[in-house]
Amino acid sequence: MSAREDWWYDEAAGPLVRPYAMVRGRTRPNAPDLHLVTQVRASSFASDQTSLTVEHREIMALCARPLSVAEVAAYLDVPLIVVKVLLSDLIERGDVIVQNSSPQIPDRDLLQAVLDGVRGI
């Protein structure tokens, strides 16, 4: 382990040590279009997971069903920026599929579906 990696795992370094350890020094997501509600889901063709970190694998397990980025962050209990970095690793590997759009204002049909859905709960 290099001196720098040692530093990441040094408990005395403060509350950011764990997030830094998780992202392995990467600082910003490669997939910039990850918003709070962006839906992510584990691919059915996920690659060999042995090289993944514990956190990546945790995300893969969570995303067996579609979830929002915000939900993944909440269940993993890490800040959003950290989960975005981790998710973008998995997206790049093709292990996670993602909704191909930034949040859009819903059209009439979508609003009608939401209206019916909320009435039905």
Partner: protein, 194 residues
């Protein structure tokens, strides 16, 4: 990056969101919880000590950071659509989060406590200025329904087109009715715009 095609492969639902806004203690978290199918979740944004949003972890190691939490709930509409309800963060200074929350939202519920009407002014201003559909829901804390809907409308200087309703944020049916009113208001706005 693998995106979802239209070829019937694995799909992800379309996500929509509604923002629950209003001053501190007006019942935002309570309303999210009363309609959500899961206990409200918390997600955290990282901030520098000065309160600046961190969207890049570079250069902040060793610096003091803090977080601001958003609470949210979920309603699965059907297999293709999921609705998220986001309570706005307690302090209005986190405007960067409001922007992300408001982008693409169906609209907003601005909760009002008539004992402290002014605490909901900034929320109303925000949605008015962005042209985001919103309804005002007066949360009727026990015995605190001091004003009529018309008096609240007047006190908040609201346009006639903005629905104002009374609610009890702890009550599921009451909160549902507020959401239904907001979605209908958004649909009307959409139709008026065509």
């Amino acid at each position: 990056m693998v995106f979802v095609g239209s070829d019937g492969q694995l799909t992800v639902p379309t996500a929509v969101k509604i923002v629950i806004a209003g001053g501190f203690g007006t019942g935002k978290t309570t309303m999210v919880g009363s309609v959500s199918e899961i206990p409200p979740l918390k997600t955290e944004e990282l901030l520098t000590e000065a309160g600046v949003h961190v969207d890049d972890l570079a250069g902040i190691e060793g610096k003091d950071t803090t977080t601001v939490a958003l609470d949210f709930g979920r309603i699965t509409i059907n297999t293709k659509v999921v609705l998220y309800l986001f309570g706005t963060p307690g302090q209005n200074r986190f405007w960067f989060m409001w922007d992300e929350l408001a982008t693409g939202a169906i609209g907003a519920v601005v909760l009002v406590d008539t004992r402290r009407l002014d605490s909901s002014f900034p929320s109303i201003d925000f949605f008015e200025h962005r042209g985001i559909p919103f309804v005002v829901a007066v949360n009727c804390f026990d015995g605190a329904q001091l004003y009529t809907v018309d008096e609240v409308r007047h006190a908040l200087d609201l346009d006639d087109g903005i629905p104002v309703v009374l609610c009890d944020a702890r009550d599921r049916e009451s909160s549902k009715a507020v959401l239904v009113g907001l979605i209908q208001h958004s649909m009307n706005r959409l139709e008026a715009a065509v």
